[in-house]
């Protein structure tokens, strides 16, 4: 397989992932996009959703990210997010608790944009909850 792209996932507290991978699928604000080496440089906002890391031979790793930014520069892809958890580590009870707080946030959301963000987060969380182990 061709060259790999240097992928980094950073949260304000630490560097979560820093490795060379084949492809990353980022949940962009305007739709998911896959990043391979040589991608056109771009900056995009990230909506709450699931980020996938693809490596040859391995199952794609799925990480839940709670919104943020992605910066792609030819041979590197950096995703900045405030919260990231591997989907397999998420317990159903925890997810359900997060869903509950998100639902409360939804009622107090001020702008349409906030409502949209919380709704996408809810949708993702519900999806995770449905497949999560108890």
């Amino acid at each position: 397989m061709a060259d790999k792209i240097a992928f980094e996932l950073v949260s304000p507290e630490r560097l979560l992932v820093s490795e060379d991978v084949e492809m990353v699928v980022v949940p962009g604000a305007e739709g998911d996009f896959g990043v391979l080496i040589g991608h056109q440089p771009m900056i995009s906002t990230v909506r709450p959703g699931i980020l996938e890391i693809h490596n040859e031979g391995d199952e794609p790793r799925r990480i839940y990210v709670n919104g943020g930014f992605a910066e792609v520069t030819g041979d590197r892809c950096a995703v900045m997010t405030e919260e990231a958890t591997p989907v397999e580590d998420m317990k159903r009870a925890e997810v359900e608790a997060t869903i509950k707080t998100a639902e409360e946030d939804l009622t107090s959301a001020k702008t349409d944009h906030d409502t949209y963000i919380i709704q996408t987060r809810l949708a993702t969380l519900r999806q995770i909850a449905a497949s999560a182990s108890a």
Binding site: S11, P12, E13, R14, P41, M42, F69, M80
Partner: protein, 296 residues
């Protein structure tokens, strides 16, 4: 001349003080290591954020209708000074140097006829500034009782600052904190949060050179910036809190180290005096006995 008993008591009390300062030094050293790791772990994020802000902001700053978080309200009348200090004392000049820098700035601003509001993060800064500016302090946020500071701690503070800005309560916001350079050196830093201070061209760490590659923006530059700026404030605050945490421990460690050394010197001095006194007491007792025997 103090009596022998007094000296013994004093030596005893200095010794127990030394035990305490030595223990504090060791505690600070181990906390410092953790705080330092936290600072270093947080740097990649804020560095990237700053770079992105730099490349986005510089292209938009000149345009009309740029977000006020970036260009300010156009006024310069009311200043919000955010003073981030520690919750505890006994850490050398850590708290007082931040407070001093803030005080100098406040006095300058007042002399220039500006309105100043103060937001304290940490109890110590409030205690010091209250003496001179008690009427200006609008709120104090205490972060005591938490071992590790998380991003979630910085977020409500940032939200509060943003809300105040949106309500037009101030025009310029400056943050004072101690930047951690090394255990011995902490630099009092003032950082302008609103309007966002853009890294000057070329000064920003430019990462891999892209040969001036042009970025695609998705959605538009304005929308990304509108999302980026509020987050930038949280990140800056979080970074400042972490840097402060490491600085506090570093400065406490140095302070306690010299306190331990001073206590050691004092014990040596007192022991010397004690021995001299003891000797002279013995001598004078001997003289008394001998002269008593001679008189018989």
């Amino acid at each position: 001349m103090p009596s022998l008993k007094d000296l013994r008591v004093r030596i005893g009390s200095v010794k127990s003080t030394q035990k305490i300062t030595r223990a504090m030094q060791m505690v600070a050293a181990s906390k410092l290591r953790r705080a330092q790791e936290a600072v270093e772990a947080a740097r990649p994020y804020s560095a990237r954020m700053e770079r992105m802000l730099g490349s986005l902001g510089s292209s938009l700053v000149a345009q009309d209708g740029a977000p006020p978080l970036l260009v300010g309200t156009g006024n310069d009348d009311t200043h919000l000074i955010v003073v981030a200090t520690g919750e505890r004392g006994l850490c050398g000049a850590f708290n007082s140097s931040i407070a001093r820098a803030a005080r100098v700035r406040i006095q300058e601003l007042q002399a220039a006829g500006k309105t100043v509001k103060i937001l304290c993060i940490g109890r110590k800064g409030r205690d010091i500034l209250r003496r001179d500016f008690s009427a200006l302090i609008i709120e104090t946020i205490e972060l005591a009782g938490q071992k590790a500071k998380t991003f979630a701690d910085a977020q409500p503070i940032a939200t509060k600052i943003r809300d105040m800005f949106d309500n037009g309560e101030f025009d310029v916001c400056t943050l004072f904190y101690n930047r951690f350079k090394s255990v011995m050196v902490q630099i009092v830093t003032d950082r302008q949060l609103i309007p966002a201070a853009l890294p000057a061209e070329g000064e920003a760490e430019s990462g891999p050179d892209l040969g001036n590659a042009i970025y695609d923006y998705e959605p538009s530059e304005e929308e990304i910036l509108a999302d980026l700026l509020p987050r930038n404030i949280s990140v800056q605050l979080f970074q400042a809190i972490l840097e402060n945490g490491a600085s506090e421990q570093g400065s406490r460690m140095t302070a306690m180290d010299s306190a331990t050394r001073n206590a050691g010197d004092m014990i040596d001095d007192l022991t010397l005096t004690y021995n001299r006194t003891r000797q002279s007491v013995i001598t004078s007792e001997l003289i008394e006995i001998i002269s008593g025997a001679e008189a018989l």
